[in-house]
Amino acid sequence: MIKIKSNIAISDTGFIFNPSNGESFSANPIGIEFFNLIKQGKPQDKIFENMLEKYNTDKNTLEKDYSDFVQTLNQFQLLDQDAEKKA
């Protein structure tokens, strides 16, 4: 289960701050949606369902972009590694 670190929040404008190291990030509107859905602990399928209802895209594109997004979160040290190990 992919989990975003609990102390990390995102503003409506997509501003993300990591209090543990002071780094900040910015996300575009779709990035904000992905971020929030992951943060809420929604499973991948539900996230795709949500997005497909709202946006003109397809499952393959979402799958690819989702895994790319998660990889970036990981690279920026925004994911809770322990949660992943426990799962």
Binding site: I16, E23, S24, F25, S26, A27, N28, P29, I30, G31, E33, F34, F35, M51, K54, Y55, N56, T57, T61, D65, Y66, D68, F69, Q71, T72, L73, Q75, F76
Partner: protein
């Protein structure tokens, strides 16, 4: 409810606001139309990639350049530099506007004749003119610009054989304060080579010396260098007048004006830094007018401007194939435009704009072409809006040198279409197909069969 346009999710680390090596973002608006024709429709009808030429831009750029010179000098003549773009439709637009032809090979010479240019209005430049080419040019009274002494002697011999007085000029190279100095073509001004060649021509009495030519370099950003060059050619012309009582009919300043492209490594975009036609015209014409020519004896001023007249009129349309990441996480986008058809990407950071609407979000991206080769990089660093697979992009200022230096390598060369003055499109060069390549090959009989 209508669904919203999807965009890739991105998250970027915020750094200090210093401009980075990806440069300042300049592409704020999508390029959805070229001369009111939708990019999407062009790709649907003619496929992707696709070169698109705007006739309107060619004619307006030409008129603009011509005006810069004719408002400052009494006698001006442009000669279209064939090597810059020798698609016949394009040459003929320039010829309709009044341009002569400037060619640098037997092939280009024949193309100009085939396009219907009067031989007297063809300037024949270049180091490689064989006897056959020269014979043709002499018979047609073309203007032969001599590059080296071997050529000079060949022309003298041919003049005797053909019993005709060839019309010649010499190409002069010189120090104009520009590095590198293009001293491999023609005769040097400073060390006396130019005078030596002129003396040989005048003493032979077999040739008619009609002009003096120079071409100081390409993508020149310094108008002042042209002022120096014009001054030195004027000095030679006046010297010939004094020494031989012979009047030079024209001074040909060659090409080389920078276009609006951005050279690799420059910090500011070319649109903001390249001098205008007015800037070049001002220095060239003042140098000639302020020289010792008598006011009523000013020679004709010839210009062989290439890239600055055609770059802006050419676009290359392409399509996104895929978005990927490199091992270090760096974003890369692959498009169907490779360096094989966009040769100028080796020199320029071409402006690339999405052809559909986008948000203000951008990613620092490496833009790759479709070739399975490491050198196939269209932009090493571009700050680009988020592109999806299948999206279209427009590459700007590609009219010069691409449609002549392109290579049939791995993929076939695409169509070139032109949008005319009324917004109608015309194919001016068909795309290649497999036969365009195999028709020229010959397979020996014994190699025709194999079993695997």
């Amino acid at each position: 409810m209508e669904k919203q346009r999807y965009e890739r999710p991105v998250i970027k680390m915020l750094e200090s606001n210093m401009p980075n090596k990806f440069g300042l973002r300049t592409e704020y608006k999508p390029k959805t139309h070229i001369d009111n024709v939708a990019v999407k429709d062009l790709i649907n009808e003619y496929s992707s990639p696709l070169f698109v030429i705007s006739e309107k831009t060619i004619r307006s750029t030409y008129k603009n350049a011509k005006k810069s010179f004719t408002t400052r000098y009494p006698k001006v003549q442009f000669a279209w530099s064939y090597k810059t773009n020798y698609l016949s439709a394009i040459c003929n637009i320039f010829h309709q506007e009044g341009s002569w032809a400037e060619v640098v090979s037997g092939f280009e010479y024949d193309k100009a004749i085939k396009n219907g240019v009067d031989g007297k209005k063809i300037i024949f430049n270049g180091p490689d003119k064989n006897e056959k080419d020269l014979t043709k040019a002499i018979k047609n009274d073309s203007l032969i610009h001599i590059d080296h002494l071997d050529e000079l002697y060949t022309i003298i011999e041919l003049s005797e054989k053909l019993n005709k007085k060839p019309k010649v000029a010499i190409r002069v190279n010189m120090d104009t304060g520009i590095y590198p100095m293009w001293d491999r073509f023609g005769f040097n001004y400073e060390n006396g080579q130019a005078w030596d060649a002129l003396n040989k021509i005048m003493r032979s009495k077999k040739l008619e010396l009609v002009g003096l030519h120079t071409h100081i370099g390409t993508f020149m950003l310094s108008p002042q260098a042209y002022g120096t060059a014009a001054f030195k050619l004027a000095d030679l012309a006046i010297g010939i007048q004094k020494k031989y009582d012979h009047e030079i009919k024209y001074i040909d300043m060659g090409g080389g004006f920078a276009s609006k492209n951005t050279l690799k490594g420059s910090y500011l975009p070319g649109v903001d830094t390249s001098p205008s036609f007015d800037d070049f015209a001002e220095t060239i014409t003042s140098a000639l007018i302020n020289s010792d020519f008598k006011p009523d004896k000013l020679p004709l001023l010839i210009l062989e401007t290439g890239r600055a007249l055609i770059d802006d009129a050419g676009y290359l349309l392409g399509t996104v194939i895929s978005n990927k990441r490199l091992s270090d996480g760096k974003r890369t986008t692959i498009i169907d435009v490779g360096v094989n058809i966009l040769f100028t990407s080796f020199w320029y950071d071409h402006k690339v704009t999405p052809a559909q609407s986008f948000t203000q979000y951008t990613e620092d991206t490496v833009l790759y072409g479709p070739l399975c080769m490491n050198i196939d990089v269209i932009r090493e660093n571009a700050s680009l809006p988020l592109l999806n697979k299948g999206d279209h992009v427009v590459i700007h200022h590609v009219g010069a040198y691409n449609m002549t230096q392109w290579m049939q390598f791995i993929t076939l060369r695409p169509k070139v279409v032109m949008i005319d003055m009324d917004g109608k499109t015309h194919i001016i060069r068909e795309n290649e197909n497999i036969n365009s390549i195999t028709d020229f090959e010959k397979v020996p009989e014994y190699l025709k069969k194999f079993e695997l």
